[in-house]
Subunit: 323 residues, 4 copies
């Protein structure tokens, strides 16, 4: 029993839905901070180890953050023929930059996260990401990602969205809209450029919360969009990503070629990802595929669909503005 080892029963309770919550045993509150935007905590919890929380919500944990970040970064990086310049929207934790910088081809990473306190906190306390924060190839800017991406000189080979889910009234919502993709992201991609974004829960019960809508929004702008998904224990659900390609032919990468490029281009080996694994992640099940096909809504500046709780039925689509 846990009580034998941890006599103090301190539980971190998180709502998974209005009618479902879970509680992780707190082993040690390691560091706590507070920015103008949010509370930041690094807590050693339950079966997840050192876990980063923003406002009490899990961001990433020791046991599975490496899976999340391998899947966010490397598929897009290896589908691109030769990625040199990378832009990260968000990513203040530093792990996305860490994975990007493993690619030998990368010359420049621009990372724009609004919250300096979170960046400083993660730089100071997340040992695995320390080198990335201190890399000469990284430029870290604390500002709004849209403003900086629009203004930044030149274009990028890969743009990565490592942001919180599009919440009602949340600061990240505008970074998931058709307008942002059409008028900011697409123009700032070099020819053959790739955009990849985390896309929220993608389980057969939860995929219509935001995953299918992000997919539909991207499909309304890009010629090719590749959705994929993997269970993330700390998020207590299957998680989704959407990769948007300006050159649809790049998505035709064989498992063997993916393995070859990973071996050739990346320092160190992958823990979770290889070509065979990625093929599996792209084989979405019948329910999720149907939801993707039937999704009618795109995120526009004034008409969103939001995560309120996983169990909640998504709002009916109010318009069908695909182009």
């Amino acid at each position: 029993m846990a009580q034998d080892t941890y006599t103090k029963r301190l539980w971190l309770e998180e709502d998974l839905a209005d009618d479902l919550k879970w509680s992780m045993l707190v082993k040690k509150v390691l560091y706590s901070g507070k920015s103008e935007y949010q509370e930041v905590d690094l807590i050693d919890v339950g079966p997840f180890g050192k876990t980063l929380f923003l406002d009490g919500k899990v961001q990433s944990s020791e046991v599975d953050e490496w899976v999340y970040h391998e899947l966010l970064v490397h598929p897009a990086m290896v589908m691109h023929p030769n990625p040199k310049t990378i832009f990260i929207c968000g990513g203040g934790e530093g792990a996305t930059a860490r994975e990007v910088l493993r690619h030998k081809s990368v010359e420049k990473v621009v990372m724009v996260d609004i919250d300096k306190v979170v960046c400083d906190f993660c730089h100071a306390h997340l040992e695995k990401n320390k080198a990335a924060f201190e890399s000469s190839r990284l430029e870290l800017i604390n500002d709004d990602a849209r403003t900086q991406l629009e203004a930044y000189p030149g274009k990028f080979d890969v743009i990565i969205g490592d942001l919180a889910d599009p919440l009602d009234g949340g600061p990240c919502y505008q970074l998931y809209t058709q307008d942002f993709y059409q008028n900011v992201v697409l123009p700032k991609l070099n020819p053959g450029g790739i955009f990849i974004t985390q896309s929220g829960p993608a389980g057969f019960l939860s995929c219509t919360e935001v995953f299918t809508c992000i997919n539909a929004t991207l499909r309304s702008v890009f010629p090719s969009v590749l959705p994929y998904a993997q269970h993330m224990p700390v998020f207590c659900d299957v998680w989704g990503w959407n990769m948007a390609l300006t050159d649809a032919s790049q998505a035709e990468l064989s498992a063997e070629e993916m393995d070859r490029r990973l071996a050739e281009r990346v320092q160190g080996s992958m823990g979770f990802l290889d070509g065979h694994t990625f093929k599996g992640l792209c084989h979405l099940n019948k329910v999720v595929r149907k939801c993707l096909e039937e999704e009618q809504q795109v995120y526009t500046a004034d008409c969103g669909r939001f995560i309120h709780g996983k169990g909640q039925a998504a709002k009916p689509a109010e318009n069908g503005s695909q182009q």
Copy 2:
């Protein structure tokens, strides 16, 4: 907020590990019973709807039991060329029989579950499974599955293991051993017969609890074993199955042929499964594949590996008795 609707905050709390628990809001305790083996409850909970509990542990829920049972039953049934006789070890809930009976080829289903109270409870209260319990093609026996399988006249085309996980000292452990597979299951399969069993958690953090060991045990007996996995929300993890074939060539089924057979042989359509989906489920990720390859232990009558809690490290393998 849930409180607005359900002013009474009754939570069903379940340990997911020693240091992780979750709580489902109870909307209504529908039925409660008690057998000599366990408590049986049907409770409308949290985001999962009507959920069956044995001794307070989730067995299956309205929102995802159909996924579990499609994946347990239909892949094996369609890989077999013409399944007529089926034996179910366990399965007292009735849903496995329900799915089996959808196959037009099926002439006889023998279902052996030790707990008559559970069977009667599910027959009475699970509307979706009522017709299965009352089918003239079903023979329901309340006894030990091994005893009955050994004694039953004739052989079977498909044998299905729908049992609780192999728990230390639990009644089901003997039904996961090499001895049972070698000396009972294999001899009772017709030529070309298939054995399929649920196999516990199969996530990249949890697959060594029992999944890899069940796989290794089956590989020590059968010429071909096909493992696959899918996230099950109500179990808060990825779940695994292992299919063992006496004729390895049957596993070479294309997605298209699977779709064709499902359409041709089964009454009604699938909600979750199709050929494309199944290909994805069989593409296990790098971590799980490595654990399967490295697994050295088989379940023997006196040397098991048990689920104590998901977060716990599996016991080191004590021998490597593959043949």
Copy 3:
């Protein structure tokens, strides 16, 4: 451990304050009902036994309801020289009537509770109160207590307030106001009549929530008010009562005379109350006495002070309208 006995861990969670909650293990949900006003449940919980809940809030439990009701009913009844006619505001549970009816002098009890469903539920399911509901001396009316008390022919010797605490916007608030006491209760009391009301939490940390204000309100109307308090386990606090006497001299009852009257007038013996005990309950501590003395606010129709949560500081008194 509880888990050994109750393998199903169903917890009823109740907020004691915004930052303090407790959870009682549910042994059995006995009966559930729903009126137009509230949910009614009888649940066998934790250490409290059969417990009545309205909208998930504890009303009374097997282990201590008898203490609550002895203290609500008998002190006022024995201070009165010869109580024959009794009016109960609220009391739908039936236990207040049960205690009143133990007094041989009582000829008529009028009980007015707004919620017929609760009364019927308690009549049907609370074995100890069944005889009271069926007594020929009881007249039960389901209506607003003020309306009925005003309209009821004649006057009463003892009027008992057995109502929910005065909650913001709650239906009971009007039955705690100066106007109600002055213009309804006082005129309906016979000479020498006594009014007694439950008065919410009366601990040294919680007494200013409503207890001191109810006391001040009664003091603004009656010549003598006697406050007393006792810890009630199921309410997780010390609980308070205020007795208002039209004849102040009746409060001068010695412990010995109280014991004598209890023995003489009441059927059966008391479990908790005797003269010595009651003297103790009336010896309020220094903190509570000071809060009573300093209380400036009375409940008027439009200016209340409400329980929002025990830990919350009471609103500052906005006026001091004693007369």
Copy 4:
């Protein structure tokens, strides 16, 4: 709602019984330490403010420790005609010494607590007790209280037991036995000396756990024992003390004389205690008085009665009151 202010929902969960637990919202983990005996934590929680925990169990909280310590220290101190030398068994928190040192008559306080880490921790972090730890009148010894009391030169006017409850196998049990009282405490008291000990839960449901048995044990040794009780919010129960007098006539102190002595002898004023309050605390209710009268068991070295959980029925007495 608490979530608005404390977005991180960290709950400290404490079992009140096997089937009742409560959870305090953690506002800040202030300090954590670990001795060879126990974990020590100072945590700002729920409605209780800065709260000291040993092994996750509440020891004392900002909102009510002053009540506990006034009631432990001052009644005995003022019943004694002129207390100069004081011995404290336990008391590592420092608050008992703090209250003792307020008495101008006190020349010497010997405090013996086994756990140096706890003493150092409280000295460093409990601002209110800092001056006491640094008083020239205090001698602090970290050792077993019995050993030190036996060996200490001279006798004492007042001996105070500020120890954990007598738990099965716990280190404090021996300090509640007849043998300890008879052979160590009594011989070390000056003529007219007084012994006072905290005595665990004393509610009408909980008083037989240890309170009545400590009382019976003291009655078997001392000519006069005065039990009293007060609700302590942070312990979620009524708490009890037993005062044992070598001179029974000292217990005949009037409320007025107590007030006079408190004013005359003690620096500063009392927050909770005065003569009227104390009279109330000594008026135990009918249930508790009956349990005290009927208690047959005394704590001997090899026959104890222990707190396992408040809801649990006390073990039947196995023998009658040794003298």
